[in-house]
């Protein structure tokens, strides 16, 4: 019975984390297609609820995951788990950096919305910043890679 509860907690966490990441990505892409700062601000503000979802999912997935591995007497230093730890660390560091950039973009959009709400080249440049887009894309790739590692657990 304990195994089922641990697995349930781990999967709920994993689903919340992945779903939060996908939701944030979709809203970010939707914001790219908007011209008016007010519309961009609404969409980037909508990312905010996804962040605690991501955080809760991360904590549940990792916490229950380690508990499950211990309960099943799995080696915590197996190749696929080590790769997972590295991808998790990447997600945390890059997520914080990209999140800070996106917050500054949202604040710019909110400011421009109050100042007349005219389309802005500066806002458009920030939304299309290749470094920021690459960082956000790498988060999705890392998330997909973690899911694949969890499912197939290659040795």
């Amino acid at each position: 019975m304990r195994y089922e509860w641990l697995l349930f907690g781990h999967l709920v966490g994993a689903f919340l984390w992945v779903a939060g990441a996908v939701a944030a990505a979709l809203l970010r892409v939707a914001a790219l297609r908007r011209q008016r700062p007010s519309e961009v601000a609404v969409l980037l503000r909508a990312v905010r609820p996804a962040v605690p979802l991501l955080g809760l999912g991360f904590v549940l997935a990792v916490g229950f995951g380690l508990w499950l591995a211990d309960d099943l007497e799995r080696e915590l230093d197996s190749t696929w788990l080590l790769a997972t730890y590295a991808l998790l660390a990447w997600s945390l560091v890059v997520g914080a950096a990209a999140g800070r950039q996106d917050r500054e973009t949202r604040e710019l959009a909110e400011h421009l919305a109050e100042e007349g709400d005219a389309p802005s080249r500066a806002l458009s440049r920030r939304l299309r910043d290749p470094v920021n887009l690459a960082l956000n894309a790498s988060l999705l790739v890392a998330t997909a890679a973690i899911v694949a590692l969890m499912v197939w657990q290659p040795e």
């Binding site: 689903f15 992945v18 996908v22 892409v29 939707a30 908007r34 694949a148 197939w152």
Partner: protein, 129 residues
């Protein structure tokens, strides 16, 4: 890895696509009401659709091929019923949102989400086994 391992993997990946799409739709409905999110909604609905079909197809495949499982096992039959409820409620939710009835859309999406959570519990505990 056996073929069944691969099929199980695709079944779980489909579930991730389904859940991701469902949560994305929640975020779009609750956190960005009134915003023009047509493209984002289309992508989220595509994830839900592909995840729904994938979980059904790969799940049925596993029920047929894995020793000890049968399509008429109680927990597998329950999963089919819950899947049907979830998909039907989700489709009606989509219609409600498109026709502007947000309250009805949210309520039906909640039913679809509940069905999804019950399927997850069903998959883990396999009641009756």
């Amino acid at each position: 890895m056996t073929l069944d391992d691969w099929i199980l993997g695709f079944h779980v990946l489909s579930a991730f696509a389904l859940v991701s799409g469902m949560v994305a739709l929640w975020t779009l409905a609750l956190a960005a009401p009134g915003a023009d999110v047509a493209t984002a909604s289309r992508v989220a609905r595509a994830a839900v659709l592909s995840g729904s079909v994938g979980t059904l197809v790969f799940g049925a495949w596993l029920a047929l091929t894995v020793d000890g499982y049968d399509l008429w096992d109680g927990w597998i039959a329950a999963a089919f019923v819950l899947w049907t409820v979830g998909v039907a409620a989700g489709a009606r939710s989509s219609v409600a949102f498109r026709s502007g009835d947000r309250a009805r859309g949210v309520a039906l999406h909640a039913v679809s989400t509940l069905a999804l959570v019950l399927v997850l519990a069903d998959m883990i505990w396999k009641p009756g086994t």
